[in-house]
Symmetry: C2
Subunit: 147 residues, 2 copies
DNA sequence: TGAACTGTAATCACGACGATTACAATTTCG
DNA sequence: CGAAATTGTAATCGTCGTGATTACAGTTCA
C-alpha cells in the first residue's frame, strides 16, 4: 500500500463541515469535534491552527469556549484548505539528489516540474468544491475530471 | 512536512530514463541502475517488477543479465508508470470511518469521491509526458496546468 | 564448473504521524 | 474571588510505511 498524504486534510474537512452545520452563534469544543471525527482533541487544535491564522475559523479559550466558522461555508473552498495544510510539500516523492550523473540531473528537474504541475492540478480539482458542497452532499461519486 | 508519496515512481522514472539512453541491445544490471539512482539494487528490482509484468521492460537472469526497455521511450507514458506503481491507492488520506455520525458519513463519501477525481487529474497530468520527454529534457519547468 | 545475474523472503533502522500526557494561560460562572 | 472549562503548546510514545541490508535459491553465460 502506497503511502498516502496525511489525514489532516480529511480531518479539516470533517470538522469544518460539522461547524458549518450548527447555528451561527454556537461554538463547539475541540473535544466534541474530535469525538465526531474520531481523532484526538489536540490533533484537532493542531489542524485548525493554520485555518484560524488564515481567518477561516475563530477560537475562544475558557469556559464555553470552542470553535466556529469565520466565513460562510460556501466561502471556504477545499483548495484553500488543502493549500493551508499541505503548503508547498511535494506530492510526488523525489528521491535524493544524484549530482554525479548527468541523466540524474535531468530526471530530478523533470520530476520537480511534474510535481508542480500535479500539485496545481490537484488544487484545481479541490477548488471546484466548498465546505457547503460537502455539507449538502453535492460532490458526485463519479464525475469526469478534465482529462 | 507532510508525507509525500513514496519514491518508487521517482526511482522508476530515473531508471527508465537511463535504460532509454543506452543502445538497444545493451542490458544494464540492477546494481548499475541502483548506483545511478542512489538506491539499493533490491529496491530497483522491486520497482521494476510491476513494470516487467506490464511489458514495459524485460529482464534476463544470469551472467551478462540485466534490464532493457521492451517499448520505445515515447511509448511509455508517465501516467502508465504511475498507475502500475500506485495502483488504486488513495492520494488523499482518509481517516477512519465514523459510522455513528450522519455528517461523518457524508464527509467520508465526499472525500472518497474527491480522491477519485484527484487521482484522475494526477494521472492525466502525467499522461502528457513520456520517458522520451524526460530523456530529452522536454518537461518545462513551468507550464500552465488545466486550471 | 564458476562467476554474474535475477527473484524473493526476512530482518532492520529511520522517520512521519497521530495519540497521549502535562501544564500554563484564558474565560465564564457561581 | 475561585473553581471549572477550554484553548495553546511542548514533550513523549507507539505504530506503521519505506527502503536498506542480508541471505539464498534459481538461471545463464563463458
Amino acid at each position: 500500500m502506497a503511502r498516502s498524504t496525511n489525514t489532516r486534510f480529511a480531518v479539516a474537512v470533517h470538522v469544518l463541515t460539522l461547524l458549518a452545520g450548527v447555528d451561527d452563534d454556537r461554538v463547539i469544543s475541540s473535544e466534541e469535534l474530535a469525538d465526531s471525527a474520531g481523532v484526538n482533541p489536540v490533533h484537532v487544535r493542531r489542524v485548525l491552527g493554520p485555518l484560524r491564522e488564515a481567518g477561516l475559523v475563530t477560537s475562544r479559550a475558557g469556559a464555553r469556549g470552542g470553535w466556529e466558522l469565520a466565513l460562510r461555508p460556501e466561502g471556504i473552498s477545499l483548495g484553500t484548505v488543502w493549500r493551508l495544510l499541505q503548503g508547498d510539500d511535494p506530492v510526488l516523492g523525489l528521491h535524493g539528489p544524484n549530482p554525479s550523473c548527468a541523466t540524474g540531473k535531468g530526471v530530478q528537474q523533470a520530476l520537480t516540474a511534474l510535481d508542480v504541475a500535479i500539485a496545481d492540478a490537484l488544487v484545481a480539482q479541490l477548488e471546484r468544491f466548498s465546505v457547503r458542497d460537502v455539507l449538502d452532499g453535492d460532490i458526485p461519486a463519479q464525475f469526469t475530471s478534465a482529462v
